[in-house]
């Protein structure tokens, strides 16, 4: 009896699918990574000044937090659809929608991180003659980094997952394969794309965790008893510069 191809029998796991459609998977994964990276990067670029503005002015704070919360409540399918008449059927629809979602998390976390900077650290920096810009980038930002990175991890993982919905307009990365697999009832395609998507989220999360450790070495608690003298000095500004 001839062995039936797993493509014909429509198995969930199918090596032949991987070998024959490898390029398709690579393309979808690359698109997925590209959309995620662009969205999170733009989100961060927008969220940072927004958070600074919201911190400086109470009148801005309310509307910014309110509006980003409203964005977060709008279902992704509706968000993308509402952007279509504005931006056309292009990848910018998906990226814009994902940026809006990431703002909710990023602005809140940056604000929380900045609010948690001890007043003594600010005073000390001012006493050392730091101007507002140097104070922000040399002292406040490094101290707010753990909260910021926590927000960045949450935003990135959610973005990886939400990118799949972009498949409604054909820019969903691995989501395109999930939707395609649903329409053609192709089990291996759906399962492979789904697993890759989860893997992508995990890899991104771990990578950001490692980056955070690299950027904030002073937050790591030594496993064994560290030499007292060395552990005592942890100048925040120095470590990042």
């Amino acid at each position: 009896m001839a062995e039936q191809s797993c493509l014909v029998s429509n198995d969930w796991i199918c090596g032949e699918y991987l070998s024959t459609r490898g390029q398709e998977l690579v393309d979808a994964t690359l698109q997925h990574i590209g959309i995620t990276l662009a969205s999170v990067a733009i989100g961060l670029l927008v969220a940072f000044p927004l958070a600074l503005l919201a911190r400086a002015r109470r009148s801005v704070r309310g509307p910014v937090l309110g509006l980003t919360t409203v964005f977060y409540a709008i279902p992704s399918l509706a968000m993308f659809s509402l952007l279509v008449p504005v931006l056309g059927l292009s990848v910018s629809v998906v990226v814009t929608g994902l940026v809006l979602y990431s703002l909710t998390i990023l602005v809140r976390n940056i604000l929380a991180g900045l609010a948690a900077v001890p007043e003594e650290a600010r005073e000390a920096a001012r006493g050392m003659g730091y101007g507002p810009v140097r104070l922000l980038f040399g002292v406040e930002l490094p101290l707010a980094l753990p909260a910021l990175m926590a927000g960045l991890r949450i935003a990135t993982v959610s973005t990886v997952s939400l990118t799949t919905i972009g498949s409604i307009i054909g820019y969903g990365g691995l989501g395109n394969l999930v939707l395609g697999g649903l329409r053609s009832y192709f089990k291996a395609e759906v399962l492979t794309a789904s697993v890759l998507c989860v893997l992508l989220a995990i890899v991104a999360d771990v990578a950001l965790l490692l980056l955070q450790r690299l950027l904030t070495p002073w937050t790591r608690t030594p496993r064994r008893r560290a030499p007292r003298v060395g552990a005592a000095q942890s100048p925040a500004g120095e470590a990042v510069a």
């Binding site: 409203v70 977060y72 409540a73 709008i74 279902p75 992704s76 399918l77 509706a78 968000m79 659809s81 509402l82 279509v84 008449p85 909710t104 998390i105 809140r108 976390n109 929380a112 909260a147 926590a150 927000g151 949450i154 993982v157 959610s158 990886v160 997952s161 939400l162 799949t164 919905i165 498949s167 409604i168 307009i169 989501g175 999930v178 939707l179 697999g181 649903l182 009832y185 089990k187 759906v190 399962l191 794309a193 789904s194 998507c197 989860v198 989220a201 995990i202 999360d205």
Partner: protein
């Protein structure tokens, strides 16, 4: 703008609201899916969270569950369930997917709410001779109420969003208005559907914010509005 006008015309056309593909029927399906899934997920997650929170065990589970929930794409799970043998049971695969994604916010927030109750209060209650269940019912649950409601609200919003995706997979609900619009390349219908979904989601969020305020046992007893701030979901920070 032309699109705005055409969207308005679409919404103002009575024929789009009635019949099997009409907005009212789709809204009905969406409400039904949301209510059933929210009830099931609360029935599963709340008792577990309350017991674990009371005993102070399983914190890692509560936190990890919401991390996993975030990493797994809802759309993929929905499609996987539809292609599985469960797929032939009408809307059940959709309900299962919705419940799976609603459990983490409910469980995590309720657990944190129970754990954040002032330990001194719990000690005082025990000192007064309250039994474990009495401590839960009279001290811990009332104080944890705001966070429990935050979890339920996040879950409800999540369910509304995910139920919209069911339309991509051929299920019912308001998302069908959008997907049908895409198929017909009718931008006005796409925008009209998206507006309906967005308004519905915001209404659900608003209803739960109101419910949390009205039902808060601590606030009701003190008679005055205690805190104006709506607690943000734990998972967000």
């Amino acid at each position: 703008m032309d699109v705005v006008e055409r969207t308005w015309t679409w919404l103002a056309t009575g024929a789009h609201w009635t019949g099997g593909d009409g907005v009212w029927h789709r809204l009905d399906q969406h409400l039904y899916l949301t209510a059933v899934s929210l009830l099931i997920s609360c029935a599963i997650a709340l008792p577990v969270a309350v017991v674990l929170g009371h005993l102070g065990r399983g914190g890692a589970l509560a936190v990890n569950l919401s991390n996993v929930g975030r990493a797994v794409p809802t759309f993929a799970v929905l499609v996987l369930l539809l292609l599985s043998p469960l797929g032939q049971y009408g809307s059940w695969p959709t309900v299962i997917a919705l419940v799976l994604f609603a459990i983490p916010p409910v469980l995590t927030n309720a657990y944190v709410g129970m754990r954040e109750v002032d330990r001194d209060m719990v000690e005082a209650a025990r000192g007064m001779g309250m039994t474990g269940p009495q401590v839960v019912a009279r001290v811990e649950l009332p104080l944890a109420f705001p966070l429990i409601m935050t979890g339920v609200r996040s879950a409800a919003v999540q369910i509304v969003a995910t139920a919209t995706l069911a339309a991509l997979a051929g299920g019912g609900g308001l998302g069908r208005v959008i997907t049908a619009g895409f198929r017909l390349t009718d931008t006005a219908q796409v925008v009209a559907g998206a507006l309906l979904v967005a308004v519905f989601a915001l209404l659900v969020e608003g209803v739960f914010v109101l419910l949390a305020r009205l039902l808060d046992p601590v606030r009701r007893r003190s008679g005055r509005a205690a805190a104006k701030v709506v607690p943000t979901p734990v998972s967000d920070v």
